[in-house]
């Protein structure tokens, strides 16, 4: 998917710091806490991956971070100040922090894609002409222009995810939270969604993505937070995922690139673990072209593990 040269936003979202401080939450009719003492500082302008198994509390944390739920204990802070749950407070909060839920059908309500995107702009109180301009701009910027008058129920799963993201992004939130935006998508669909998120990130939005795809977090995120049983067990750069014990306690598996990197002999192993297998393969080919395969003739991504370890 080629992006276009159009800027995503006219002025760019403002920077904002979002923090969860010691949040505790229990669902009604449940006998265990979904979150207990969960704290997370979301650094501004970064790509954050929230990793955890099903039931670890990722979705709950996101819903607390955007004000959909109120915590039993703890608070959410925006730019250092606690958020308020009254109408005006929630409106300010949600202008700064957007949430894209897991199932696009749970947040799309209009008849066509264009109407859906305009909805967000018109909600801000802007005029219809402004809405048309903004909608056109974001459709082109996120390569959705060919879908402009299509009703949402005739879109494919990947297209629906991208429209849902565009629908949130059009209002230029400072922080965009996404609940498993790549779940159920084919590899090409995953790349399309990540490309959209990268464009938004380049425009200045802080992106927080919840997922249980360890490889995705390892290769894409600037900051990784691992959730175990209702709280954040570790938060940092992708090296966090190299901790075997943490990975096991979180019911995850180590990143593929790390597993391979670890098992390489010392002379072949690059100094730091690369983000993904493809980069590792490129490094290995350039470091020792054993087997007579010249650099550049094997398409990246089609190298098998057997070839690499020869």
């Amino acid at each position: 998917m080629t992006g276009s040269a159009q800027p995503v936003s006219a002025s760019g979202p403002r920077r904002a710091r979002l923090e969860a401080v010691s949040l505790t939450y229990r669902y009604p009719n449940s006998d265990t806490d979904a979150l207990s003492g969960c704290s997370l500082a979301v650094p501004a302008g970064q790509r954050v991956a929230l990793l955890g198994a099903n039931g670890s509390g990722k979705t709950t944390l996101l819903l607390l971070l955007n004000g959909s739920f109120r915590p039993a204990a703890g608070e959410v802070r925006l730019d250092g100040a606690p958020t308020s749950y009254d109408r005006a407070g929630l409106r300010r909060w949600r202008r700064a922090v957007g949430l894209v839920v897991q199932d696009p059908d749970d947040m799309l309500l209009a008849g066509t894609v264009r109407q859906e995107l305009a909805f967000g702009v018109l909600n801000l109180g802007r005029s219809e002409d402004d809405a048309r301009v903004d909608v056109d701009r974001i459709l082109v910027a996120l390569s959705l222009d060919h879908l402009r008058d299509r009703p949402t129920h005739l879109l494919s799963a990947g297209e629906r995810h991208r429209v849902a993201i565009a629908a949130m992004a059009i209002t230029e939130p400072a922080v965009l939270l996404l609940d498993e935006p790549t779940a159920g998508l084919d590899p090409a669909g995953v790349e399309e969604v990540l490309a959209v998120l990268d464009r938004l990130h380049a425009a200045g939005t802080t992106i927080v993505v919840s997922t249980h795809d360890v490889d995705l977090a390892h290769r894409w995120a600037d900051v990784v937070a691992v959730m175990v049983a209702g709280s954040v067990a570790a938060c940092g750069s992708r090296e966090v995922l190299h901790d075997q014990e943490l990975i096991e306690s979180a019911r995850l598996r180590p990143p593929s690139a790390f597993t391979i990197w670890q098992s390489l002999p010392g002379d072949l192993r690059p100094a730091t673990c690369p983000p993904d297998v493809a980069t590792l393969a490129v490094h290995l080919r350039s470091a020792s072209p054993v087997g007579g395969v010249p650099v550049g003739e094997v398409p990246v991504g089609e190298v098998s593990v057997g070839e690499v370890s020869r």
Binding site: S68, V101, D106, L109, G111, N123, E128, P151
Partner: protein
């Protein structure tokens, strides 16, 4: 998967989708009125011919039109047949065929009218209709409910189709008793599904700052003088011609 109906999909993707709603309604609506008011011969035939040509121009396959007309035509034929029969205990014989001409006339008008109505349905997408209706002054409450219903129907129908296929795979429709039980479960699931969908939408839309207002932007389509002029002149031709040829 995910389509509401063939008609809905075609309404969004046919060759006339860039035309202004008013143009399309003037043409197809005018044909409906013509079917009702002109003499059946040759008015109904002219209207039906116009519908067939419009479908060809708009890129709507003829077999779709025929499929759409299948059920209403059944109703029309049955209804017209009833008017052809006269039941009166006092007369001999008590049941006899009368007014075949009138019945055929009714059937012809019904078919022409239904075809014109089908053309309207096939060329006008529902979201566009609702947005323009809002602009024309239909109360906001009705329009907002309508567009929300449209979106929710798409989601619910899709979910229901999957649930029905799952039931069929478990032999849920093997016989009338089974079917009634499965259908009841399906109906109950449809209700629960619609309620939970509304609740999830409330969360998802709350995240977008939804306060209840559903905005309806118009699509900026322009009237096409050429289209309108052709429509009006053909309609005039059909109406005047029918009255001239068919008498009053």
């Amino acid at each position: 998967m995910g389509a509401i109906s063939t008609i809905d999909t075609l309404a969004h993707t046919n060759r006339w989708s860039h035309h202004h709603l008013g143009d399309k309604v003037a043409w197809a609506g005018g044909l409906v009125v013509a079917a009702l008011l002109t003499p059946v011969w040759p008015g109904a035939f002219a209207v039906t011919a116009c519908v067939v040509c419009s479908c060809a121009l708009a890129g709507i396959p003829l077999r779709v039109l025929l499929g759409v007309l299948r059920i209403p035509v059944g109703f029309i034929v049955a209804g017209a047949a009833i008017t052809a029969i006269s039941v009166a205990p006092g007369q001999r014989p008590p049941i006899r065929l009368t007014e075949l001409g009138a019945a055929a006339s009714l059937a012809g008008r019904g078919v022409a009218g239904t075809a014109a109505a089908a053309l309207l349905a096939l060329t006008v997408p529902v979201p566009e209709l609702i947005a323009r209706a809002r602009r024309a002054g239909v109360p906001a409450a009705a329009c907002e409910l309508a567009i929300l219903m449209y979106r929710m129907i798409a989601v619910s129908l899709d979910r229901l189709r999957w649930q029905r296929m799952a039931q069929e795979s478990r032999l849920g429709y093997d016989g009338v008793r089974c079917s009634v039980r499965s259908l009841a479960a399906l109906a109950a699931a449809a209700f629960v599904g619609s309620v939970t969908h509304a609740q999830r939408l409330a969360t998802g839309l709350g995240a977008r700052g939804f306060d209840g207002t559903v905005w309806l932007l118009d699509d900026g389509a322009r009237h096409s003088p050429r289209f309108l002029a052709s429509a009006v002149s053909v309609l005039a031709l059909v109406v005047v011609g029918s009255f001239l040829v068919g008498g009053r």
